[in-house]
């Protein structure tokens, strides 16, 4: 009896050591916007714990880092502005104008300006984040939401939820130069790191459209099928593509899973079960982990990218929406 116990104990100890040994040694800070709680949960990716909660304005959704990950920018949609916090001390820095009802935004790779989708007004507002001035307003389709910026800074893409289009905006002239029809209710627009492709998720359409960023035409459409899950529940939202451009991960909403896609062949390799109503996701800077925001289970799931396995859930605030992970 004792021998068995001892062996079991050793096994447990060795397994624990192995598991912890394969966990990344780096601690990064993940910032999660909690739409209903009006807070940001700060997670340490080494301890996998919420280490701080920042009280912010009303209905925080879109979230990003700027100025070398030292500024945390949040779209506080019901306050009709962008709030800026210090990503290290969590102190409030300033507000930026955003136009009404900002949901998502994208920062020009040079660090300025900021392009914001105004969901209520059918425009994209362009803002200088240093001076806080509105530079331009670009009319787009009905209910603009998704914002993506090309790595070379040449185009900003905005998706319109009711118009069902992805609009390419030339950042030099602030004019829309191409309007590409996608499937119903497009949410997120994400460029590959080489700028050659734009991936757009259609929440109600249930697909992800791949657009050739040079020719500005759709070249492929990815559909999803999960055994035992009603097709209507598969609602793609968040998209993240690794820097090498080999793997893409798509959050599938009420299907409660993220899809792992071979970014070269566009084939879906695997579905990983996470929390409920998963909308957005983010890589840690070393791309070893992905963290997902699960809106209706109020938690964040941590996924090991190499093993393609979810291994931890972290409770955050109510209706976690957006997530961004800092390199510190």
């Amino acid at each position: 009896m004792k021998a068995v116990c001892q062996n079991a104990l050793t096994c447990l100890f060795v397994s624990y050591a192995l598991i912890t040994a394969t966990l990344p040694a780096h601690a990064f800070k993940a910032f999660v916007s909690n739409e209903k709680d009006n807070t940001i949960s700060v997670i340490d990716t080494k301890s996998m714990k919420v280490i701080h909660t920042i009280k912010v304005g009303q209905r925080p959704r879109g979230i990003m880092l700027a100025k070398d990950d030292t500024w945390l920018l949040i779209c506080t949609s019901d306050d009709n502005r962008i709030e800026v916090y210090d990503a290290k001390t969590y102190e409030f820095i300033k507000n930026l104008p955003s136009g009404p009802d900002p949901e998502l935004f994208a920062l020009h790779p040079s660090g300025n300006p900021l392009y914001i989708a105004n969901e209520d007004d059918n425009i994209v507002t362009v803002v200088n984040i240093d001076t806080g001035r509105i530079i331009a307003e670009v009319p787009v389709g009905v209910e603009p939401e998704g914002m993506g910026v090309s790595p070379d800074g040449r185009y900003v893409v905005n998706t319109s939820e009711t118009t069902n289009m992805a609009h390419f905006i030339d950042t030099k002239t602030n004019e829309t130069v191409a309007n590409i029809l996608v499937d119903n209710r497009p949410r997120v627009a994400q460029f590959t790191s080489d700028g050659k492709q734009l991936w757009v998720s259609a929440e109600i359409g249930g697909t992800v459209t791949i657009i050739d960023a040079d020719k500005k035409v759709a070249i492929h459409k990815i559909s999803f099928a999960i055994p035992g899950i009603n097709a209507d529940a598969i609602q793609p939202v968040g998209i993240r593509i690794n820097k090498a451009g080999t793997k893409a991960f798509v959050a599938l909403g009420p299907a409660n899973r993220i899809a792992v896609i071979d970014a070269k062949t566009f084939k879906v390799e695997k579905y990983i079960l996470v929390g409920q109503r998963v909308w957005n996701l983010a890589f840690t800077p070393d791309e070893k982990l992905i963290l997902t925001t699960n809106g209706t289970s109020n938690d964040v799931t941590v996924v090991d990218v190499k093993k393609q396995r979810a291994f931890k859930s972290i409770t955050v605030g109510r209706y976690p929406w957006g997530i961004v992970i800092a390199n510190h």
Binding site: G141, E161, T162, T163, N230, D232
Partner: protein
């Protein structure tokens, strides 16, 4: 040109430091300028600093839509809050025209709306046929069931389709279904099934029913009885409510009602829920909190089924509600929503086919590819056997939704939305075979 100048002024003003008031000012100027400004589709977006290229009028294709309203005499409702606004229905269609045109301006399609309104059926038929002969393919109608069938007959040989936005009559989806009629309004069966599913989920199975004398009340009761049976609820007793319409307009009156309702409900057997069938809004609102037993009221009043609730913020509806409130100056009603869905269906078909030809669009809307996003959390499609739009349905109180049917646990081979209403294997409709 005027638009660009307005934006230029707005931007300059913004740069000088004002923000919130500018938005109001902009809206005011837009309103004023709209009178003098004929809308044309735009091909590319604007910049602030220079004029955008003017639209080329010749290669913009037109898609005209007609809204048809049958003016009907109705008894004044019990609650002041239930008086139908003059623009009920058409306001929803107007918003959808705007939404369609925001896409249309990128695809060189221009949607327009006209209205035909009359108390006389013959006038409506004459007007609709004239428009159809002139090339209009799409009519969104708020008419009685009989008028709808008459319109359908009149349009029989023309490439046109009628969208029923207002009539819940079951026969229109069953024995009297027509190939040139689509329904964005929910049928009685869908509404009563939504209620019955929730009552089943709650395990409130013992039901009593109080029904009114109007023909619509009887149609509702017929549907309700079918739903109760279908979902395993027990109808223990039924009573007819008699009333003199108009007598509730007196200054007093609650003292009598306060005694009348308990007396009326005193003899009923032990029940879980009292259902009222009062489509005419003449007595249903009297029952909640006045019955002999302390039990909830549901049906046409109390907890009621509706395709749209003005307080819904589910599935991204906030922006939709705001756009409607700003445009119409009031909250959205189910008739507005049904009209919006009809006009958006046409827009969606035009977007996906790139065509304005009514035959092409009608065909697309009948195909498997058609789907509509309508703030209900999943794509909405038309049932292939009778062209009824499938949709989740709210169970609500006047202030807020309580739940959305279909309820969890009710399964279906093809889609759970078909657990609401009469399903394909049971249908009497053969017009689409």
């Amino acid at each position: 040109m005027v638009w660009e100048e307005t934006r230029f002024i707005m931007n300059r003003a913004k740069q000088s430091g004002c923000s919130l008031s500018l938005r109001r000012l902009r809206e005011l100027i837009v309103m004023v300028l709209t009178f003098a400004f004929t809308a044309s589709a735009l091909v590319a977006g604007h910049t602030i600093a220079r004029a955008a290229p003017a639209v080329k009028g010749t290669d913009v294709i037109s898609i005209p839509i007609v809204y048809v309203k049958e003016q009907r005499k109705r008894l004044p409702p019990l609650s002041l809050l239930d008086y139908p606004p003059d623009n009920e229905g058409i306001a929803g269609a107007e918003l959808a025209i705007d939404d369609n045109n925001t896409t249309g301006r990128f695809l060189k399609q221009d949607f327009s709306l006209e209205m035909i309104s009359s108390p006389k059926r013959d006038d409506l038929i004459e007007g609709v046929v004239a428009k159809a002969k002139a090339g209009v393919g799409f009519f969104v109608v708020d008419v009685s069931a009989e008028t709808l069938l008459a319109l359908s007959d009149a349009l029989k040989d023309l490439p046109a389709v009628l969208f029923n936005a207002g009539a819940p009559d079951q026969n229109l989806r069953e024995s009297e279904c027509r190939f040139n009629v689509k329904h964005t309004a929910a049928s009685y069966a869908m509404l009563t099934d939504s209620l019955a599913q929730y009552l089943a989920w709650k395990q409130w199975r013992k039901i009593v029913l109080v029904s009114g004398p109007q023909p619509e009340d009887k149609l509702y009761v017929q549907s309700l009885k079918r739903s109760l049976k279908r979902f395993g609820l027990k109808l223990l007793a039924e009573k007819q409510f008699e009333y003199q319409p108009g007598s509730h307009r007196t200054d007093g009156g609650y003292e009598q009602v306060q005694k009348q309702i308990p007396t009326f409900t005193q003899g009923l057997p032990e029940y879980d829920v009292l259902l009222v069938a009062d489509e005419a809004h003449q007595f249903g609102d009297y029952f909640a909190y006045r019955t002999w037993n302390a039990r909830p009221v549901a049906g046409t009043h109390g907890l009621y089924a509706t395709t749209w609730h003005p307080a819904s913020e589910l599935w991204g509806a906030s922006q939709f509600q705001n756009r409607f409130n700003r445009k119409a100056g009031r909250h959205m009603k189910p008739l507005d929503y049904a009209a919006w869905m009809a006009v958006r269906s046409i827009g969606e078909a035009a977007t996906r086919t790139g065509s304005s030809d009514p035959k092409t669009l009608i065909e697309y809307m009948l195909s498997d590819n058609f789907e509509l996003a309508a703030f209900k959390g999943q794509k909405l499609t038309y049932r292939p056997w009778n062209a009824q739009l499938r949709q989740p349905i709210f169970m609500a109180t006047p202030k807020l939704h309580v739940t959305v049917s279909p309820q969890p646990g009710f399964l279906h081979r093809i889609t759970v939305l078909d657990t609401l209403g009469i399903d394909q294997p049971e249908t009497e409709c053969t017009a689409f075979n």
